[in-house]
């Protein structure tokens, strides 16, 4: 059996590890546009900050391909998929036949079409080449001030990294507040205040409309309001657009991303998709959507890998979640933590001076989201409650002790009902 994987990040690794767990015989071919060995994209901000060196970007050991008997074709771009003939074509004119195909092509950073983008000192920040480009630039040009466009996760991690390099950063966000997809107003305000205290400037409801400079190098950006911010570096961290064109041109069903079922199958026979390009099931919002986070990509990869070699595995679905840290204060957003509405019950506790905040969102007596700032210990227990859709009870119902303990500082497994505790700690084949 010939298995072709397009892409070389978390989903590909998940697929390869899962494939090899079940099948030693299948031929696995990885085709990747990038020239690099498997590396971790989320670590790029740590690399940019100077916290880790390049060797630590490796997501798996250097012998990963060899040990898993994977043939890797790097620096090679797939330009067409033929689902009927079951083969893919690369830019260099090579053709590779497959029995099963996995598309995990990820996303491309969004860059608004504005004048001056070709200038030196203008970057996106999602790939290793971007990070190396920025570092090389920082080594050759004195950078005192930078502008980061985008106040989401990527923008924030970029800002934090640059600040650790003692570069003054101005963050420009189109929405009324930063991290609006992950955090509610309170947590967002806390993060903004932390950034500002550390010397960053946060500008909301604004966008960059032009890049100005001398001699082909950036010297300033212009905002929609006309304000001009002098800077030597501009980084776009707005977000990514799924690389689904390849699938669409092949007649595979694409919505925003490639639509997949609970086995990661696309609409074309023997073609699977996983990771940031796949529109898979989100168990919190109860619909298919792209949730471009590392854990989802890896898990979807493992599901696809097993199913590709005939081992049926079903995905229960993922959920949006992320961790972040601003100026040493950790925060987490899990599920629909920023949701609000009449049909929701919100439990919240704020100790703003201590940089601590906890917000739990319940719908129909079930936890659907959590935001934690400051104290993030044991957060996974909340994630488990969300995943398992455990009935907690509504506020109108008789308040059980454990429902009250949800907000306690000492929330732990002992807070949980015995039956649920048994459920989450009991594995297959164990008698309770």
């Amino acid at each position: 059996m010939k298995i072709v994987i397009i892409g070389n990040s978390a989903a590909a690794v998940g697929a390869i590890e899962s494939l090899r767990q079940h099948d030693q015989e299948a031929q696995i071919l990885v085709i990747s546009e990038e020239p690099h060995m498997i590396y971790s994209r989320p670590l790029l901000s740590h690399y940019l900050a100077g916290e880790i060196d390049k060797t630590r970007l490796a997501y798996r050991h250097a012998d990963f391909y060899a040990r898993h008997h994977v043939q890797a074709v790097l620096s090679s771009r797939v330009v067409a998929i033929e689902p009927q003939a079951k083969r893919v074509h690369t830019e260099s004119g090579r053709t590779y036949p497959y029995d099963k195909l996995l598309i995990c092509t990820g996303g491309t950073p969004i860059v608004p079409p504005i004048p001056g983008l070709a200038m030196q000192g203008v970057f996106s920040f999602t790939r290793l080449d971007d990070a190396q480009g920025i570092l090389h630039y920082l080594g050759s040009v004195p950078v005192r001030r930078a502008v980061v466009v985008g106040g989401g996760m990527i923008g924030l991690k970029t800002t934090d990294a640059l600040m650790k390099r003692r570069i003054a950063v101005t963050m420009v966000e189109l929405a009324p507040r930063i991290l609006s997809a992950a955090l509610d107003e309170t947590a967002s305000r806390m993060m903004t205040n932390l950034l500002c205290k550390a010397g960053a400037e946060v500008i909301t409801e604004e966008t960059v409309t032009a890049v100005h400079g001398d001699g082909g190098r950036i010297g300033a950006v212009e905002l929609r309001s006309g304000r001009v911010i002098p800077c030597e570096l501009l980084i776009f961290g707005i977000g990514v657009r799924p690389n689904a064109a390849l699938a669409k041109e092949a007649g595979i069903m694409v919505n925003r991303g490639i639509v997949v079922d609970e086995h990661m199958r696309t609409s074309a026979p023997d073609v699977y998709a996983a990771g940031d390009v796949a529109e898979a099931y989100d168990l919190v919002v109860d619909m298919n959507r792209i949730v471009a986070i590392w854990p989802n990509a890896y898990r979807q990869g493992t599901i696809a890998g097993a199913n590709m070699v005939g081992v049926p595995r079903t995905d229960r679905g993922g959920l949006a979640m992320n961790t972040l840290e601003v100026c040493g204060v950790p925060a987490m957003s899990i599920g629909n933590g920023n949701a609000s509405g009449d049909d929701l019950e919100i439990l919240a506790e704020l100790e703003e001076r201590q940089n601590r905040y906890k917000r739990l969102v319940l719908q129909d007596g079930r936890l659907i989201g959590a935001i934690l700032v400051g104290n993030i210990d044991r957060a996974g227990i909340y994630t488990g409650l969300i995943r398992n859709k455990l009935h907690i009870g509504t506020s109108s119902a008789r308040n059980t002790d454990w429902r009250r303990s949800l907000m306690s500082e000492h929330f732990g497994l002992l807070s949980l009902p015995d039956a649920y505790r048994k459920h989450i700690v009991t594995g297959a084949g164990i008698e309770v």
Partner: protein
Amino acid sequence: MRLAFVWQASSRAKGEGQLKRIIVHEEYCIGCRLCEVHCLVQHSQSHDIIKAFKVEQPRVMPRVTVEESGPLSFALQCRQCLEPSCLEACISGAMHRDERTGAVICDESLCVGCWMCIMVCPVGAIQRNLTGTRIASKCDLCYGADMPACVAHCPNEALTYEEISL
């Protein structure tokens, strides 16, 4: 009732096809926290109880935690899930399954302290260690030891290490 509840902890015992698990008997736990003490000593550099608690830097942390509420208490360490969420969420590749022992462990030299694992561990068994470089601290089943330190030093057999076939 012998078992209050049984963890899905599993490890491949050396050279055997059997899975070994730490089993928690909460009705026998007296909350003495000797498991925490001996876990800390086991994971210290000196293996000396006084030095481990008083001198060593970065601070050693126990990888087992006793939860206590009124008369009820029990010791909790990593359950060694068969499909570990922490491994799936780890962005650095630090969290991995040790080939020799089968245990899910964190390679602390690779960990960057992003806390993704803490966000997903359903039993909350991973802790932040901020005293040196930031690392996620978790049970490693004492690296393939015949008997993990917490189990060996539990005075009331509230923790046992047992082979259970799947």
